[in-house]
């Protein structure tokens, strides 16, 4: 593929090049055969090849250098005139062909593809392939870029790729307009690259995401694949051949809505841990239980209705085309008119979900509903990122943005894989447990969303602890929670989980002895994370935390200290 641009040029340049060679040859040959003339009018020997080549070179390229080896005879002048027209036309033909070739769409595609492949080949850091740069893809790319992670993007639409170039990103993301359904697109994007860390398929076409997942699982089975799916069928299909994570935006949102109804504590915990660090802490939502109205019975409406019914809520559905959506028992209408909403019992209802696939209709529904019943709990679905201003102005209790949900889920899966497993464990616990954890977290953060980070006890990720454990020193979890710079005060963080092999310990005790290979998940204030880093990496800091003494520095001093200890012990 990368060489095809060169081949294309060579193939298409055959005729102009041969024309050029022949014209040069004719001009040169003439010049070396036609006799010249000296000052007295006597004929002289013709030009040598050297002089003829010199003369033709500056004439053919229209440079028109004035120096001639000797004054021309009339026969030479006639030939020079002929040469000028012959060679200049040949040059124009050649240059014209090259320019036309470079402007050809096929050629431009070949050049872009080869440039893209070269940039991907040169990546030296682990990178993810993001297939599909719609709203979700763009959100995810900019979030990953903020964290300094490398990505490669492909999208079937060249316009979106062009928009990506205009985005305000820290690093250049190699991007190409290519179809994710074709294996060669993914290979071009670096699927076989040593540093490829995973593939995320986010196109708005379920079939394309499925094709991408199959391609990865066949060509690089060890790589993780994450897929967006719009229907449960596709999700089940993807999971059947080992796709690691499938996020169904609507299902995921509906699940959280049901969680907010039934287990407000767990839901709040989830929002704290997955929020954007540094933003104000979200307040509990507390959606009321009672009669709800769901407008729009598409994929989103169905998911919400199912989850809400499971949560024990009575639901009235409003749908404009009941026969197309398979809705037996519903009120026919769009929900944007007061009459339909009154039919659905808006005065008695406690909550409304505006879940059609049209943003303006959704806004119209919630605005009408607010006039009819100002105490309603409002959930509005926002389809297009561009309408964010309008939804922010309206300030529904929950604004559901599918692109944002999918992007956030992937971001947390990619950056803190432990968090996803921790959240899965919390589902099994009750609300009281969640409330207790919330109060512990609230005690260490100052009204802002906490940062969540994980720590691998490995040579690469925390050298000091790994060396200490190898040397047989005991390191307790509590030792990593102290701040040596602040007089041994406790760091403002909570250890959420310790994973040893496949055994998770949720909310581990400070007395637990660490082993190498453990994976830890912390949450807390950003400054706690910064204060913890030196203890993990610097053996002096760690020794101070463990023993309360300053460790000796260089190799010689360490050897000396060890000898002294032995002598003292002996």
């Amino acid at each position: 593929m990368p060489q095809s641009a060169l081949f294309l040029i060579l193939r298409r340049m055959r005729a102009p090049l041969i024309t050029l060679i022949v014209c040069y040859a004719v001009a040169l040959l003439g010049m070396t055969l036609i006799p010249g003339v000296d000052a007295d009018g006597r004929p002289t020997a013709p030009m040598s090849f050297f002089h003829a080549f010199y003369f033709v070179s500056y004439t053919a390229t229209t440079i028109g250098f004035g120096e001639v080896p000797a004054t021309f005879s009339d026969a030479q002048r006639a030939w020079a005139t002929f040469t000028i027209y012959l060679t200049v036309i040949a040059w124009l033909y050649g240059i014209g062909t090259i320019l036309a070739l470079l402007r050809e769409p096929a050629m431009q595609r070949a050049i872009r593809a080869s440039r893209f492949a070269r940039r991907v080949r040169r990546l030296r850091q682990p990178f993810h392939i993001v297939a599909g740069c719609g709203e979700t893809g763009t959100l995810l790319l900019s979030a990953l870029d903020l964290q300094g992670r490398r990505c490669v993007a492909i999208d079937i639409d060249g316009e979106r790729i062009a928009e990506l170039d205009l985005m305000d990103l820290r690093r250049d993301i190699p991007a190409l307009a290519a179809d994710a359904r074709l294996p060669e697109s993914l290979i071009l994007a670096g699927l076989r690259h040593r540093r490829c860390a995973g593939v995320i398929a986010l196109t708005n076409d379920d079939q394309a995401n499925l094709a991408a997942a199959v391609t990865v699982k066949l060509l690089r089975p060890e790589l993780p694949v994450m897929c967006r799916a719009d229907t449960l069928d596709t999700a089940a299909n993807m999971a059947s051949f080992g796709t690691e994570e499938v996020v169904i935006a609507f299902e995921s949102f509906a699940e959280h809505l049901a969680m907010a109804l039934n287990n407000p504590g767990q839901h709040l915990l989830y929002r704290w841990l997955t929020g954007v660090p540094g933003e104000p802490l979200p307040q509990p939502l507390e959606p009321p239980t009672g009669d709800w109205i769901v407008c729009g019975y598409g994929r989103f409406g169905k998911a919400v209705a199912r989850r809400l019914r499971q949560a024990g809520v009575r639901i009235t559905v409003i749908e404009a085309r009941p026969e197309a959506t398979g809705c037996d028992d519903c009120i026919v209408g769009r929900g944007t008119e007061a009459a339909t909403l009154i039919d659905a019992g808006i005065e008695r209802a406690v909550g409304i979900v505006a879940g059609t696939d049209d943003d303006i209709n959704n806004l119209s529904i919630v605005m009408t509903a607010r006039q009819l019943n100002p105490n309603l709990f409002m959930v509005a679905r926002q389809n297009r990122h561009a309408n964010g201003e309008l939804f922010a102005r309206f300030a529904a209790d929950i604004t559901m943005q599918p692109a944002g949900i999918v992007a956030r889920e992937y971001l947390s899966l990619l950056t803190t894989p432990l968090l996803a497993r921790f959240l899965a464990h919390t589902r099994a616990r009750d609300d009281a447990w969640a409330d207790e954890l919330i109060s512990r977290i609230a005690a260490v953060v100052n009204d802002t969303v906490p940062e969540v980070w994980d720590v691998d006890i490995s040579h690469r990720r925390c050298e000091a602890v790994w060396h200490a454990l190898r040397d047989g020193q005991a390191v307790r979890l509590g030792d990593l929670l102290r701040d040596p710079a602040a007089g041994d005060a406790m760091l403002a963080c909570v250890p959420l989980m310790l994973e040893r092999g496949h055994e998770p310990i949720v909310l581990p005790d400070g007395e637990v002895n660490l082993r190498s290979g453990d994976r830890l998940l912390f949450c807390g204030a950003p400054q706690a994370r910064r204060a913890q880093a030196p203890v993990l990496h610097d053996y002096k800091e760690l020794t101070y935390v463990l023993t309360g003494r300053d460790a000796p520095g260089g190799t010689v001093w360490r050897w000396w200290a060890a000898r002294r200890n032995v002598r003292r012990g002996g």
Partner: protein
């Protein structure tokens, strides 16, 4: 019969024969080696090279490589000739002639290889 094959074969063989014609004669006698013969050999070789552009087969790549070698040798020979005549002004002494002719003889070897490749390609043709 395919006209493209005729033209292709014609230029490859002509490049070889012209080159052979120039090399023929005493190696250090300038009277046996005419400058126009070298010129014709260079032009035909360049055309043969361009005709080989854009071939994607293995044998096509080898064709192109041998042509590029012949071009390089012949252009160097012409360069040596030009420098001896016009830059250093030593003229066509037997040493200069010998080095020009031996460079051209190297090109002849590459051109012979081209012809052999052409024959091999033709005999392997199953259509």
């Amino acid at each position: 019969m395919n006209l493209e094959k005729v033209v292709f074969g014609f230029f490859i063989i002509l490049a070889m024969t012209l080159n052979f014609g120039f090399v023929l004669g005493e190696i250090d006698n300038p009277e046996h080696h005419h400058v126009h013969e070298l010129f014709a050999a260079i032009v035909v070789n360049l055309i043969a090279t361009v005709l080989k552009f854009g071939e994607r087969t293995q044998i096509g790549a080898l064709h192109l490589a041998s042509s590029l070698v012949a071009d390089l040798q012949l252009l160097t020979a012409a360069g040596v000739w030009g420098i001896a005549m016009h830059v250093t002004h030593v003229g066509m002494t037997s040493e200069v002639t010998a080095s020009v002719v031996s460079l051209a003889a190297g090109a002849l070897a590459a051109n012979l290889l081209s012809v052999i490749l052409l024959l091999a390609e033709t005999t392997n043709l199953r259509r």
